[in-house]
Amino acid sequence: MKIAIASGKGGTGKTTVSLNLALSFSDVQLDVQLFDCDVEEPNCNLFLGFDLEKVENVVCPVPVIDQEKCSVCRQCSDFCRYNALAALPTRVLFFPSLCHGCGGCAVLCPEKAIQESQRSLGVIEKAKGRSSPEFYRGLLNIGETMTSAVIKTLKKHIDDHKTAILDAPPGTSCPVIASIGDVDYCVLVTESTPFGFHDLKLAIGVVRALKIPFGVIINRWGLGDSRVEEYCKAEGIPVLLKIPNDLRIAELYSRGIPFVREMPGWKEKFLGMFEAIKLQLAGVEEART
């Protein structure tokens, strides 16, 4: 089963929830994989401290133009939707950072002047040896924009026989879709403030559009007002967990310690939440058949 932890707004506690859930699972010897899909700013391992090893490079195919063969017919530069190719009077220029690696230019070139090579976008890393939880993360190179490509490569390491927890990036656009696209369930983490609530509604729009069953965790509960709870009640959205606005949790977070390590009572709550998710999914399945 694949569970994604997402939120519209940044800094609501996605990583906190992902880590504590994964650690609660690994404590009861459940086979669990944790994926840090926030490849622009991956933070999970700051809290886990695993030794990481590179498992693969994420690459993007890019055109290499043979200037001898190129007749500057402009077909490639006219075709490229990303403006990665520009035709000058005497030659075609290529801008690697704009290229999405679609391969169209190489097919189109009537002179067969375009070959493809590979450009590095980032890396996929994994915790060395047999770690618990099993941990993978992606890391996008600085200055690169192909976030989704790194996330998609990272997700190839999901083992369908295990429970996979995916820590998604913030927002609602392509990197989020790439992360939560094919998961079985999505946990949306929010806080009950005007910003948190507004962005939660955006995130709900995304999971509904993708037809993913979901529930909500209210983090920093006690902060703000009761608008999220009222909304969830009216919409029939399950509130899976409320994590209080506790200075101790914030302080542990600031030092890079997942709070279930110091407050073990919370493991039960996270495992209870997982049972509630399974029940909800069983209900969804029943409704479908």
Partner: protein
């Protein structure tokens, strides 16, 4: 005209709250909300929309079932796995590259434009504002960020504003790059947590990569003073100015609930530490303005005329 972008790497460190406060302090500025994925600035600034425009993202391929001979070439070629077994295109996977249109032997694939959101030019109680709404689950937020910035520049020219204050998105990817390229100064709002520090270092690499002058503000500095010291030491080593620090204060949530900027809220507050908090923000803003004044104007829009000192 000068441009300041506020970013953070990590989400939720206080970018929007601080930028909104700057909006109420800046005398002659346009505000641009470039966190188009999860835009929140309008909740505080309550813009009155003057002009609305549909935003077209990348096109999406469509296969005409009448013409499709199910040869499978498009599905085989598509590098994004966007064509399914029934020869339909998944709009969430399609990157709009149009390669399928050239490999199809029967001309069955066409590219369709689609509205991916809206961009707005508005007025607020603090002056003009450019902002946008990205459609649910749409791609290419970087392109929409560029649209918002273009609109902000137009507003600045129309209303003779000499500064654009940009609220940027979290992360280091396409929308962040679109929000910082060509700006005169980046302010990074950091927090003294291990994630905050890690993400700060990544965005500093990014601003160094694009060679943009950068300053730091440490928010909630008192939640971990050791980490605050680490940030200061690191910045001193890298010669990046730390222009201020703010303590954790409930005023942030209180002001947000009142739909006010921190500056507006503090004016009506009798609480001493809330007034002090607002004063600290005023000082940070004064430092930002001072630094901006010292930076040579590189924008093409309005040239600042050099005055001869009489």
């Amino acid at each position: 005209m000068k441009q300041l972008t506020v970013i953070s790497g990590k989400g939720g460190t206080g970018k929007t709250t601080l930028t909104a406060a700057f909006a109420s302090l800046a005398k002659n500025a346009v505000i641009a909300d470039c966190d188009v994925d999860a835009a929140d600035m309008h909740l505080i600034l309550k813009p009155k929309i003057l002009e609305k425009e549909d935003y077209y993202g990348l096109e999406v391929a469509r296969i005409d079932p009448e013409l499709c001979i199910e040869c499978g070439k498009c599905r085989e070629f598509c590098r994004y796995g966007a064509v399914n077994e029934n020869f339909e295109v998944d709009p969430y996977e399609c990157e709009g590259c149009a390669a399928c249109t050239i490999v199809c032997p029967n001309g069955a694939v066409s590219m369709e434009i689609r509205v991916s959101g809206q961009s707005f030019s508005s007025e607020t109680r603090f002056g003009p504002m450019a902002h946008a709404r990205l459609g649910i689950g749409e791609e290419t937020s970087g392109k929409l960020v560029s649209t918002v910035r273009t609109n902000a520049k137009k507003l600045a020219e129309q209303y003779h504003k000499d500064l654009i204050v940009i609220d940027g998105p979290p992360g280091t990817g396409c929308s962040t790059i679109a929000a910082i390229t060509g700006t005169d100064l980046v302010l990074v709002v950091s927090e003294p947590t291990v994630s905050g520090i890690h993400d700060l270092k990544r965005v500093l690499e990014l601003t160094a990569h694009f060679m943009i002058p950068t300053v730091i503000c440490i928010n909630k500095y008192d939640i971990n003073e050791e980490n605050t010291q680490l940030i200061k030491n690191f910045c001193a080593e890298m010669e990046i100015p730390v222009i201020g620090r703010l303590p954790y204060n409930d005023i942030v949530t209180k002001a947000m609930l009142q739909e006010q900027t921190l500056i507006e809220y503090a004016k009506g507050s009798k609480c001493l530490n809330e007034g002090e908090f607002a004063d600290q923000i005023c000082q940070i803003w004064a430092r930002v303005e001072n630094i901006l004044m010292g930076i040579q104007d590189k924008q093409n829009g309005i040239k600042t005329l050099k005055m001869k000192s009489l």
